[in-house]
Subunit: 336 residues, 2 copies
């Protein structure tokens, strides 16, 4: 199978939304009048972001899901994506399920593959995803996209769905934690097949004052919102813990806490909204069928403070997942 056969067999579909899809030097996209293009790119490296032997169907899903999650965080509607793929070899037994996992999620979100690149090399995936968000008719240089920079003192802080399951699943797979088989299966599914919160992101346009996706851990990603907004926050530890369905199921308390507060790969949304829009937040959760939980509030004083179960408030230094800081043990977790 040569490069062109590979692309033809697994990665070719006629473009529906794009003016021009794959097969030429460039793809051509045209946004609707008044719309802007939201763009995000993520690279996944074998042995770093996933186990080399991971189910290729799940990998196809996850590679696109982590990118769609960035669109969700901006309140963008998915349009299209490109896929660059380095493979040690072109094997149908791997490519077929990988492509199936990728297409299933792409189709579910009407996101079409418009181009890419394949080459031989250490297994690496790089997807760039494109979504549409309304511009601001009064100011062409502004946007209606949800940004990290709009949080205001007094805003409530919310998180969607559940937290910590992906990190618990990883700890289990690494043998550092023994989970019951049913819990392990649920957590591994969240690790390997995250759900990008596209519908919630769309419903939060005009409601959330700031938004980010939880890819590097709740407190780390909330920290990005705080930094870009120039504010601080107080987070209620019990409320965050309650976002993990396995809290109270006998998992080591420190491990649970670390996974929920700082574990990566949740791909939930953390966002802020003024208290008078609490009803609109609830309506967005309802419309999108996505649970949403209030976990704290934005404060003028910078920094992140955690209020524990006993009502004590302590400063927290947010540390997210960093791919280069050797001090962070997580950075080498998946590495063989």
């Amino acid at each position: 199978m040569d490069e062109f056969e590979l692309i033809q067999r697994y990665f070719s579909r006629p473009a529906a939304k794009a003016v021009l899809g794959a097969g030429d030097d460039c793809a051509i996209l045209q946004t609707a009048a008044g719309m802007q293009l939201a763009i995000s790119t993520d690279m996944l490296v074998a042995g770093r972001h996933f186990f080399p032997g991971v189910d290729p169907h799940a990998l196809g899903h996850k590679a696109l899901a982590v990118n769609l999650s960035d669109l969700a965080a901006c309140g963008a509607r998915p349009l299209a994506f490109t896929l660059a793929l380095a493979l040690p070899q072109a094997q149908a037994a791997w490519l077929e399920p990988f492509a199936a996992g990728l297409w299933a999620l792409a189709d579910a979100h009407g996101c079409e593959l418009v181009g890419g690149d394949t080459t031989r090399g250490p297994l690496t995936l790089c997807i760039t995803v494109f979504g549409e968000v309304p511009g601001d008719a009064r100011a062409p240089t502004r946007t209606q996209a949800l940004l990290r920079s709009g949080a205001q003192p007094g805003d409530d802080v919310y998180v969607s769905g559940t937290l910590g399951e992906a990190a618990l699943g990883l700890q289990h797979q690494l043998g550092r934690l023994q989970l019951d088989p049913a819990v392990a299966a649920a957590c591994s599914a969240r690790l390997e097949r995250p759900t990008p919160r596209i519908a919630l992101g769309l419903a939060l346009r005009g409601v959330a004052s700031a938004c980010a996706d939880v890819s590097d851990g709740l407190l780390g990603d909330l920290g990005h919102i705080l930094a870009r907004s120039g504010v601080g926050a107080q987070i209620d530890h019990a409320a965050v813990l309650a976002a993990c369905p396995w809290a109270g199921s006998g998992i080591n308390a420190q491990m649970l806490r670390d996974c929920v507060l700082s574990g990566g790969d949740d791909y939930e949304l953390v966002f802020t909204a003024p208290p008078d829009l609490a009803g609109a937040v609830a309506a967005a959760a309802q419309t999108s069928g996505t649970p949403v939980r209030r976990i704290g509030s934005i404060q003028a004083q910078t920094g992140l403070r955690l209020r524990d179960e006993q009502g004590r408030v302590r400063d927290h230094v947010p540390i997210g997942f960093d791919h280069f800081a050797s001090a962070n043990a997580q950075a080498d977790e998946v590495a063989q």
Copy 2:
């Protein structure tokens, strides 16, 4: 140096054209009224597309250049790009010249970095580039971009600049060919610092009937035009050879021929235009300061025919650079 410091130090600049640049979940681009977005992505893997020890300044240039070349082939004006970078380690001695090479070319084309991803892993670069092309006001699903699919029987076939130098440079570096030092330096420069033909691509809008960039070898990339256009071509071997400044300098004739006809990495444009636009082609070459050479003509009969110096016409089976076909020796050339 952690991931955020690395991005901050080497890859952060305020966005000028983008509504929103790096630092949020997505970048936001807004095309001008009536304009479409041309998108291309390329992945470069150490040991495959470049020697691991290559000058990082040259690598920064080339990683962006090969993507800009795709915009040139579509007649698109560069706007922005994203960079995903897997690095074995974060070393200032490597990152600083790499970033300098990247920025120098980006600034020369007004192409701004709007986002990206950095991670630890085998040295791999994935750039996705965005350019602007006019849409077709009469039909929103059409484009004024130069495509591979518009060549018509009777059209002339042209190529820009010089051919074969990059491939000669590679053969020299691999020790398969002994070039004079001055020739070796010129050829290595073309291999390591290709020139994307942006100005020519823009000047050819409305003139060229089809266009592609020469990344995988002249005959292979012309073959893509022929396949997408449903036509054939006859190419004049002597005219193509004359596009190599080192023809006649004593280089082995077979090696020279292979490098000129099928060598990769030239990043010139191969394009077609009707004979009555020959003056417009010459004007585009003049305007853009890019030499252009007629090398043959499009024919209704499919297939590619080469007319040799003695006037004999022979069929040619185009073989380009394929990253998976083991029969193609080039595919493993750079691999260690």
